[in-house]
């Protein structure tokens, strides 16, 4: 763990993680298939739809992955500094709202995107500074802010910024302030996905190749040791939470500026994605590159659940139960290692 702090991950570490993750997925898939069987559905066909149904529309799959990729970063970066950012949900709403309003009033895409990110950054910073200055646990602040922003956004959309032609939607983002769709060898793709990949690269660079990133990771491992080494754990807390909020805010901005082009009055297009980000971050083992894969996998499950419901009339929430089991199994890397060493000792004795 200490070595990886200094020089990033080694190949063998990536390999171990890959084995753990695929083992957990296998466990989850097995239990979910059993569940489908017990519910009276054809498990083979159900699992094929659940795992493959999302692949029929790669553009939608990757766009959906974009949002939870961002909220995944929002959870993962503060966690590296030892903070529990459960506020990705609220940071995402605020980012979406602020970018929508900026787009409506200025018509400038870049400005709107930045405004969304900065709003998220400010919110993250607020949570962290209450922790650093007043000792208020970040979980309290984040939860209270999630619900506050949920209702404020709904209030503003239903009351002030609704579209007179479609009252359950907000005013649309003006066409010049939208992220478009590009063609990639016959496939269409919303541009937000490649942009998000660039941001993943940026976050990897910050975390593993800058002094700030080192400070964040070192403070997370041991605040005391970091302090002795002349680093500043408080600064690490503030910046990591700010960065996390920034990415969640961008997630909201991507959602509004790059995909839906409006916010609906029940926030259905964003609701729950902040919490999904927690699962994405954990499944991606808290690493930007892992998060790319896990966000795509997560959105594959969600879309697959929908197609399974359409085709077989099986509840799409089997996808949730499945990801829950995978995450629980992921909590147990130590157990895998214990089993392996148990078998080894057995062999030596036997």
């Amino acid at each position: 763990m200490i070595k990886s702090l200094i020089r990033g991950w080694r190949f063998s570490e990536y390999l171990t993680v890959a084995i753990e993750v695929s083992g957990s997925i296998a466990a989850g898939v097995g239990i979910a298939a059993l569940m489908l069987y017990l519910l009276g559905f054809d498990p083979g066909r159900g699992m094929a739809l659940l795992l493959g149904g999302g692949l029929t529309d790669p553009d939608y799959l990757l766009s959906r992955a974009t949002f939870i990729m961002m909220t995944g970063l929002a959870f993962s970066i503060p966690l590296l500094a030892g903070l529990f950012n459960i506020g990705g949900e609220g940071q995402m709403y605020l980012g979406g709202l602020v970018s929508l309003l900026t787009a409506i009033y200025t018509g400038n895409l870049l400005l709107a995107l930045l405004a969304g990110g900065i709003a998220g950054f400010a919110l993250g910073l607020l949570i962290a500074s209450l922790r650093v200055c007043r000792g208020v646990n970040e979980v309290i602040t984040a939860i209270m802010l999630n619900w506050t922003l949920y209702y404020i956004t709904i209030y503003l959309i239903t009351n002030t910024f609704y579209d007179p032609l479609a009252p359950h939607e907000s005013i649309k983002v003006p066409p010049q302030a939208r992220f478009g769709i590009m063609m990639l060898g016959g496939f269409k793709l919303h541009v937000i996905f490649p942009i998000a990949l660039i941001l993943i690269g940026l976050s990897y660079y910050i975390l593993y190749h800058t002094r700030l990133g080192f400070e964040i990771r070192a403070s997370g491992l041991s605040p005391k040791a970091a302090k002795y080494a002349g680093l500043n754990p408080k600064k690490a807390m503030l910046y990591s939470m700010g960065l996390g909020g920034f990415f969640a805010g961008l997630g909201g901005a991507f959602n509004v500026l790059g995909f839906t082009y409006y916010i609906d009055t029940l926030l259905t297009t964003m609701f729950g994605m902040g919490f999904d980000g927690i699962g994405v971050a954990l499944m991606g083992r808290n690493h930007p590159i892992g998060i790319v894969f896990s966000s795509i996998f997560f959105s594959m499950l969600i879309l697959g659940g929908q197609s399974m419901q359409m085709e077989l009339n099986a509840p799409k929430e089997v996808a949730d139960a499945l990801s829950g089991i995978i995450i629980i199994a992921l909590a147990l890397p130590q157990a895998y290692r214990m089993v392996i060493s148990y078998i080894r000792t057995k062999r030596m004795i036997g």
Binding site: R134, G135, M144, E317, D320, I328
Partner: protein, 300 residues
């Protein structure tokens, strides 16, 4: 003047209803966390216990005791799973808790569809009978939750057993050296805490709401977690914390009924969250987290 006192009393009794989940959940979590295990899966336990107690209530035609018992048992079983992962299996407690929450949501809807063929809520079921207090009624679970909080405080801070439990959360190595079986204590504390969360789920379904809906826990598990930190791991302070939130919650409901403007209702709904946050940031004294919280204990 009379009207004012009356609405104040209304609010207080409404708060007594909405504070129960935050208090029971927090009390259970305090016991768990004091032993060194963090369980953020209580939101999921609320949901699954609410589900199982509704099912039993529905199919027995109102056998309240059995319904409550099954709700508690559901919590016990999930606590056993989480406790085993957190102790003997040396798993990551946060990850396991998140997994329980995600799984619970999926399971709840699957069960709704399978049993009642609906995607949103169950039919209404018989509720726990209320106790009359003058013109008002309170739930027996409310009284029980206060008693449990006081009992938990006495147990944790005034008995030798409680001291042993706390030592596992502060310095497990020293505790082990003193002859405390750290892993066993942590497992039991997790099971106990989760069982209280299970009682909480039963309360939500068959006392407060009277049916199961997939949004029944509505983030209350997380607010209970916030209450744990707010209370500085003291069940008595947690009662106050739960009351403050419950009171603001009641105020929001009251105002949206009085104002008659549906749009404003969304703004009133932020009162409990902003109010609690304001109270916490102004009056907060620094808390002290159990030193070994969330760290797996590895015996040598």
């Amino acid at each position: 003047m009379n009207g004012l006192i009356e609405s104040a009393l209304d609010l207080i009794f409404l708060a007594f209803t909405s504070m129960v989940p935050l208090l029971l959940g927090a009390t259970g979590e305090i016991i768990t966390e004091k032993s060194g295990v963090v369980n953020i899966g209580i939101e999921g336990i609320f949901l699954l216990s609410a589900l199982t107690s509704t099912i039993v209530d529905y199919f027995t035609g109102g056998n309240i005791l059995a319904s409550i018992a099954i709700g508690v048992l559901t919590g016990t079983l999930i606590g056993l799973l989480h406790g085993l992962i957190s102790t003997y299996l040396r798993g990551d407690q946060i990850v396991a808790g998140v997994g329980v929450n995600v799984f619970a949501y999926g399971m709840a809807v699957i069960a709704l569809v399978t049993i009642w063929g609906t995607f949103g809520n169950s039919p209404t079921v018989p509720k726990i009978p209320k106790i009359k207090v003058g013109e008002y009624v309170v739930s027996p679970i409310f009284i029980l939750s206060i008693l449990i909080a006081v009992g938990a405080w006495y147990f944790l801070y005034r008995t030798g057993l409680g001291l042993r439990l706390r030592s596992c959360g502060e310095d497990p190595r020293a505790a082990e050296a003193m002859g405390v079986k750290v892993l066993r204590v942590r497992l039991l504390a997790t099971v106990l805490g989760a069982s209280l969360a299970g009682l909480d789920g039963a309360y939500l379904a068959i006392d407060w709401v009277g049916q199961f809906t997939k949004e029944i826990s509505a983030g209350r598990g997380f607010i209970a977690l916030a209450n744990v930190a707010f209370s500085n791991w003291n069940p008595l302070t947690a009662s106050a914390g739960a009351f403050i939130f419950g009171f603001f919650d009641a105020l929001a409901i009251h105002l949206s009924i009085v104002s008659l403007q549906p749009a404003l209702a969304y703004l009133f709904k932020i009162i409990p969250y902003v109010g609690t946050l304001a109270v916490v940031s102004v009056f907060f004294k620094r808390t002290r987290i159990p030193s070994a919280l969330g760290k797996p204990y590895i015996k040598e």
